[in-house]
Every structure is written in structure tokens, then in C-alpha cells.
């Protein structure tokens, strides 16, 4: 998987938003985490879900290949089905590791900044909200 493809970061960065809050959206580090989240999402989805759909297609249209016996009564298709679970476990592991390393630290920092800005801006007591914490 390619980590530093710049394709994702360039597009929206050129925009010049006006509101104070929206400056976050155009910051490079925000664009980086956004790209990182999308990249892992798309890669992992194509591996696990795409892989599964290919497997279904193969089962439907190449039954003689997947019906080939492997060990004892285990056919190639059954092994591949068990392999799907292994692939899913690996995907989840890579996903959580990726999010922890590339996304969470920046997100935490940006969120803290956002909160500080908001506190600075609202000197007056917060207006009454209708729905709890939203």
C-alpha cells in the first residue's frame, strides 16, 4: 500500500475559506489525516470486500478450480473461505494500527485547537441548547 501518494492532498487545499472555523479544513495537516483515512478505507475495502466478491465470482464461474481437493476433504474453495477470515483479521489489524499512528495524533491535536479557539471566541456564557451536548 502506498503511503505518500500526494494525489489526495492537493485537490481541496487551494480553496480559501473565509470563516474562522473553516480554516481548519484548508490546513495541510487536516488534509493529510483526511487523505490517510481515505487511503486506508479504500485500500482495506478493496482487499476485503473486493476480494470476497472476486471469490464469489470464481466460485460461480470456475467451480472446477475451486472444487479441487487440497488436503483430505478440504477443497481449494473451502480453504479460500477460511482464508477470507484471515484476510479480514489482517485488514482489521492493519486498519487499527494505521489509524492509531497516522490519524489519531493529528486529530487529537486539531480537536484540542478547535476547542481552544471556540472557548476564546465565546466569552459570553453558552446559549441554552435544546439537545444535550450537541
Amino acid at each position: 500500500m502506498q503511503r505518500h501518494s500526494s494525489r489526495h492532498h492537493e485537490r481541496p487545499a487551494g480553496r480559501t475559506p473565509s470563516g474562522a472555523r473553516n480554516t481548519v479544513a484548508s490546513r495541510p495537516d487536516f488534509q493529510v489525516v483526511r487523505g490517510a483515512r481515505r487511503r486506508i478505507g479504500v485500500t482495506a475495502m478493496s482487499v476485503s470486500v473486493g476480494g470476497f466478491l472476486l471469490f464469489v465470482l470464481a466460485s460461480l464461474f470456475l467451480p472446477e478450480v475451486l472444487g479441487r481437493p487440497l488436503v483430505g476433504h478440504v477443497t481449494l474453495g473451502l480453504a479460500a473461505a477460511a482464508g477470507q477470515f484471515v484476510v479480514m483479521a489482517l485488514t482489521v489489524w492493519r486498519y487499527t494500527a494505521h489509524m492509531k499512528r497516522r490519524v489519531d495524533p493529528t486529530v487529537d491535536r486539531l480537536r484540542a485547537e478547535l476547542r481552544r479557539d471556540a472557548e476564546r471566541r465565546t466569552r459570553t456564557p453558552r446559549q441554552e441548547r435544546r439537545f444535550g451536548a450537541w
Binding site: R15, P17, A25, R38, G67, T75, G77, L78, T91
Partner: protein, 557 residues
Amino acid sequence: MVTHPWIGRAALPGDPATAADGSPAALAAGVVGGFSLKLTFILFVSVVVVSMFTALITAPQRDEIGEFYLGNRNLSPLRNGLAMCGDHLSAATLLGSTGLIALSGYDGLLYLVGTTVAWMTVLLLIAEPLRNAGKFTLADTLALRLPHNRRAVRVALALCTLTVSLLYLVAQLVGGVALLAQFVGRPDNTTRTLCVIAIGTLVVLYVALGGMPGATYIQIVKAVIMVAGVSVTAALVLSRYRWQVDGLLDAAASGSGVGQRFLEPGLRQDGGTTGKLDFLSLQVAVVFGLAALPHVMMRLLTPATTRVLRHSVVWAMGLVAFVCLGAAVLGLGAAAVVGRQIISGIDPTGDASVLLLAEEIGGPVLTALVSCLAFVTLLAVATGLTLAAASSLAHDLYAEVIRGGRAREREELTAARLATVVIGVLAMLIALVSWRANTATLASLAFAVAASSILPTMVYGLFWRRFTARGALLAMYGGLACCVVLVAFSPVVSSRPGSFFPGVDFAFFPLQNPGLVSVPAGFLLGWLGSVLSDGPEDPEAYDTFQVRAELGADQPA
């Protein structure tokens, strides 16, 4: 999806009006013996009584609407994961897919893998941004994303949510009746009506009184019973073959009567290309539709922080995978121990296979446990669905569209409770009218509608800058209409012995499930509508939205 509890209920001494309706006679015709029936009844009543009391105790105390919709937002990841796993796996999965394995071997296993893969879509794509940008319902997220047309998109998404929830809810209720028919012979009108009304009333009570806390509680109870029941039964099956997978496969192949072909692809499809495409269509609907079911998506909004959500979803992934692997063992075990001919002789859809297997290897006690599990599963999924539908009706249609966001909390809460009753009664009526319908068909239609209307809208809304309100409306109404039209002209409605109108033939769309066509159509329409819009939506609204979806500014640091 178990039904003998209802016979038990009908024969309850404290229920004189129903004790005399002839159900004891019907009881004798059942597959499961009288002792196991009583045990099932006792188990089930204890679960219902205990969870009903807990639902009352944990019910929203201060008339807060947020508590009704989202419940306790500080549950641990494991509990959240159990609840998510409970929402994801319905009785149709537990009984239907094990039956499919027992009857068609390899192809059934493939279906079960699809159920697990479906959770990956939730985990990897939707969960975190949806939670961060969401409020109470899916339409809240979409209204935030497309603020200038929020009423129109709210109405459309509420309509899709209601359609999917009602379809799936009716599938659950009809499933109850279908199992009743398999175990006690064809139930008479009174028994059938009682069965549907009893389940429906329980569900309405849970949701109206308990809201999300009640639904979460019953969902966790169900998930725990499910994990325990499936692992005990699977362990019993495996120990019978000295923990050797090859031994189990050998016995399953010989028990199936078709030998090694049982473990090869192609037993379910009748060879033709139509059968193959139909199976592919079903898989597409399952993989993308299970993830987009409104009650599953609504539960993603409940954790208070993104990190708890991620851990919960990973827990749910593990639990779903574990239950599906266990169910695979159960299906193979049913073919090995009971035999394929006997299972399909009792019920051609195979739904009875787990109960037959439990009776064979664990006697009446295990049968009672599995029956109780199936019933609680049915109840819990129906509860989640009713809550999702009622939230959409009360929050989206009443509070936001009709009252324009000016409804008071107490007013909205009353509306939500009334909406619960409305949804429950509506589902009961539809279930009573269409009790002959096939549960699996209804469920897979719900998946197809969800995958071709809700999923494209949410995915585009969360990730695509140029998505517009016109694209959203076209994806939702178009995806929904595409499903309805394709189903209307499919073998589900006409031309086959099992269809609604077997006598006439206007089925020019050959597939039972529209997913293969309607899911790409939904995505295509969403794209087309956005491209053909006059201009992009307000870019500032998108910036605000993506900051919120990415950072989730509502949570503690």
C-alpha cells in the same frame, strides 16, 4: 425465530381465553418434544421478564429525547460490540444460513462469509465519520451535509428508512409464523394471529418504554446467549468428530448424500447462468445492504467518543466472525448428524436444521436453549428495527419537517412513543396479511433496498465534495424505485409456485434479488444527479461538515 414458545403461551393456564383454542393438539404434531417445549417456554419467559424489568429500570428517566434515541453513551467497547453484533445477526442468519449450509454445503458457507464481510464495510468506511457528524438519525447527518435542501433530503431518507425497517420487521414477524408452521404443522388463524400480536406487542413495549437503553439491553442479552449457545453446540458437534475438521467434513459429505460435491461450488444453483447471477446478486445485496440497515447505522451513533466506537466495532467484528464460524460448524454438523434428506424433507428451506441438530446431539435441554436463543434473537432484532423506524418517523418527519425543528423535547418524546406504536401495529398488520411470504426473500429485499438507496447517499454524503441534494434525492428515490420495479417484475411476485401471484406471469426480470442491478443504479443515479446539478452545494457547508466528520468536536479531549 422460534415459535413453540407461542404455543406454550397459548396454552398458559393464566390465559384461559387462549388455552381452549386447540393449540395443545397442534403441539403434538411438532418436531420438538413436550419437555423441551416447556423448558423453552420457561427460559424465554425468564429472559423476557428480566429484560423487561431492566428496560424499565434503565429507561430514560428525565424525559430527555437524546437518551431515548441514543441511550447510555458511556457503555464499554465490549458491551457496545455485543449490541452491534446483536443488531447485525438476525434469526434469519442463525437459522436460515445454517439451513442453507446443511442443504447446499459450499454455497451456504459462502453466504455466511458474506455476512461477516458485510461488517467490514461498516468498520472501514462508515462508522467513524458517521458517528462524528451524526446526531440522532441518519437524516441528521445528511441534513448537516446538505443544509439548503434539508427538508427534502430528510423526507426522502426517512422514507427509505421506513421502507427498509418495515420490510425487515415484517420478515422477522413472518419468520415467527413460518417456524410455527414447520414445527406444529400449519397453524390455524388464531394461533398465527396470536403469535404475531404477542411478538409485536412485546417489541412495542420494549421500545416505547425503554427507548434505546431497553433495545441495547435486550440486544446484549441476546448476543451473550447467542455466543454461548453457538459455541456450546459447535463444541458438541466438533467433539463428536474428535475435534477433527476433516472428520466433520467427511461425515457432512456422506450425510449429504451427494458426497464430495457437497464441498464443491454449485450445489445451490441449478447450473444455469440465471441461478449464478441470482446468487451473485444476493451476495452483493448482503455485503452492501447489511451494513446500511438503519438500525445498525443508528447504533453507530451511540458511543460518546470515536475511540470507543472503533474498539466497539472491532469487538463486533470479532464476535460476528466467531458466531459465523460457529454457525458454519452447526450447518455442517446438521448435514452430518441429521442428514440432508431428513432436513429438506421436514422443511425445504432448511430453517429447522439447527433445532433438529440440537435435538439429536444435546437432547431436549439443548433444543430448548437453541429455541429460546432463536426467539430472543427475533425479538431483539425486531426491537432495534422498531426503534430505528420510530426515531425516523418522530425525529425526521414530525419534529424536523412538520414542526420545523420547533418541537419541545417532551413533545418529541411523546411523538416517538406514539410512532413506536404506529410502526408496531403497521408491521403486525402487514405480517398478518403476508404471512405466506418467504422470510429470506423479504430480508434480502430489505438488504437490496438499503444497499441501493441508503448506502450510496451516505457514502457520497460522507466522502464526495461535489455531492448535491439533487444527487441525494435521485439516489434515494431512484434506488428505491429501481428495487420496487425490479421486484414487481421478478419471479418473487409472479410466475413461480412460491410467488405472490403464482397464476400469472409478468416476470421479465429473471433474478429474485434486484441487488446486482439496483446497487450500481443507486450509485450511478447519485453521481448523475450531482453532475447534472446547476452548481456545487455551498462549499463552506461542506468544509464545516468535513471538519466535524473528521474531528468529531463533540467529544472530550
